[in-house]
């Protein structure tokens, strides 16, 4: 598994973490390229179904990041999100979904260096866990199986 490169999808809010990730770039801080960033208006707008869809499509890990509590552009979006994450994460855990692969963080627009650190540590921990075979096995598309027969 030495050459395994995890695929990670990051769901970030427009106002803090996306701007923070921009700052990482403009500060020329180098970080792992395993993360595909998806920009959302607010963490409060991240539907849990989208997180599951990322696993469906073959992600090995998911990052979710937004403004620190009390810093939400819309005042309370991240507070609502936090309450939902608590319940969603617990349900995932109860169903046996590997919650170590779902990484939540608060990263502000000024924390470019912190974003690089969190991405690097997430990539390292998910590389250690290996590919997310449990989910990938059930997410196999039936079409692909028939293609293999041909």
């Amino acid at each position: 598994m030495a050459d395994f490169e995890p695929k990670i999808v990051a769901f970030v809010c427009n106002w803090c973490t996306y701007a923070g990730a921009d700052l990482t770039g403009t500060s020329r801080i180098k970080y792992a390229s395993n993360v595909r960033i998806i920009r959302f208006p607010c963490t409060g707008r991240i539907d849990y179904m989208l997180l599951l869809k990322a696993f469906d499509e073959g992600a090995d890990g998911i990052m979710i990041s937004g403004c620190h509590p009390n810093d939400c552009h819309y005042t309370s979006g991240n507070f609502h999100a936090r309450r939902r994450w608590i319940m969603f994460r617990s349900l995932c855990d109860f169903m046996g979904i590997d919650t170590r692969r779902i990484i939540f963080s608060w990263v502000s627009a000024a924390e470019g260096a912190r974003w690089a650190e969190i991405v690097n540590s997430s990539v390292a921990s998910i590389r250690e866990l290996g590919p997310y075979d449990n989910y990938k096995n059930i997410a196999k598309k039936p079409v692909m199986e028939t293609e293999n027969h041909g």
Binding site: Y48, F79, R82, M95, N134
Partner: protein, 266 residues
């Protein structure tokens, strides 16, 4: 339950209500829902220990609402459902009269929903001890054992949506699971769609489920899907101090506290 029959008959004779929703003798020794619209229909009303279907599922249906004012035979779980539905603006005093049946099987008529709420609040939502044991057993497993447990349990599910049909809280005219542009839940009877459907169902019922077990009773395969909603009830208690249906106030998942505690956000 002669009181119930008598009262239902009175209500229909005086046109105080247009329909009384209750239970009647069904086939194969089972009971089924009765919609009594004429005074003589009220004679068919029964109530005994077999009457476990949550009748609140009907009060949000167009077919029932269009008849006019409804009266409903309501056990404690049904009353809880009604209060939750009222708090979501699905029913109100103008279209619903509650013929309560107390846990001691006594008929108790309520003048309005506020009285029902007061009655319901005497009893906390409490997970049955046998289910608590099951939850504990699952909690003690490793995540991959839990994964295998659920994949095994959910594999036979063919998404008949009996659980959705039986649940009073699943009243959306168009459910996320019916969408095909985009298709959120894969349709085939397959582990992936099954897993995602049951996650979705449990999340949508978080903070709203009143633990009536209607979903489990309706499942033709006996899949313990009520474990998921029970887990959510326990988590709501552990994290946010629990909830119970109430006519006033915020819903658990549509509000927040600035000091909600978690231990997983970096």
């Amino acid at each position: 339950m002669d009181d119930l029959k008598k009262r239902a008959k009175e209500l229909l004779e005086t046109s105080a209500v247009k329909v009384v929703i209750g239970y009647e003798q069904g086939t194969a020794g089972k009971t089924r829902a009765l919609f009594a619209e004429k005074p003589e229909d009220a004679d068919r009303l029964i109530f005994d220990s077999r009457c476990v279907q949550n009748l609140a599922v009907y009060v949000t249906k167009r077919e029932a609402k269009d008849k006019g004012k409804m009266a409903i035979t309501a056990t404690l779980p049904v009353m809880r459902s009604i209060i939750q539905l009222a708090s979501e603006f699905q029913v109100n005093d103008n279209n619903l009269l509650v013929l309560g049946i107390t846990p001691g099987s006594e008929l108790m008529e309520f003048g309005n929903l506020a009285e029902v709420e007061t009655f319901v609040h005497q009893y906390q939502i409490e997970i049955d001890a046998s289910y608590k044991e099951k939850l504990d057993k699952l909690d003690k497993m490793t995540p991959s054992e839990r994964w295998n447990f659920w994949i095994d349990e959910l594999t036979p599910c063919f998404k008949c949506y009996a659980c959705r049909a039986a649940c009073p809280m699943c009243y959306c005219i168009r459910c996320t699971v019916d969408f095909n542009q985009p298709q959120w839940i894969p349709v085939p009877s397959h582990e992936l769609g099954n897993l995602e459907w049951h996650i979705m169902r449990a999340i949508h019922l978080t903070g709203r489920c009143i633990d009536c077990d209607a979903c489990f009773n309706a499942c033709p395969l006996g899949i313990p899907i009520n474990l998921l909603t029970k887990r959510m009830i326990e988590d709501a208690r552990a994290n946010f101090g629990g909830y119970q249906p109430a006519l006033q106030g915020e819903h658990l998942m549509s509000t927040y506290k600035p000091d909600d505690k978690e231990n997983f956000i970096q």
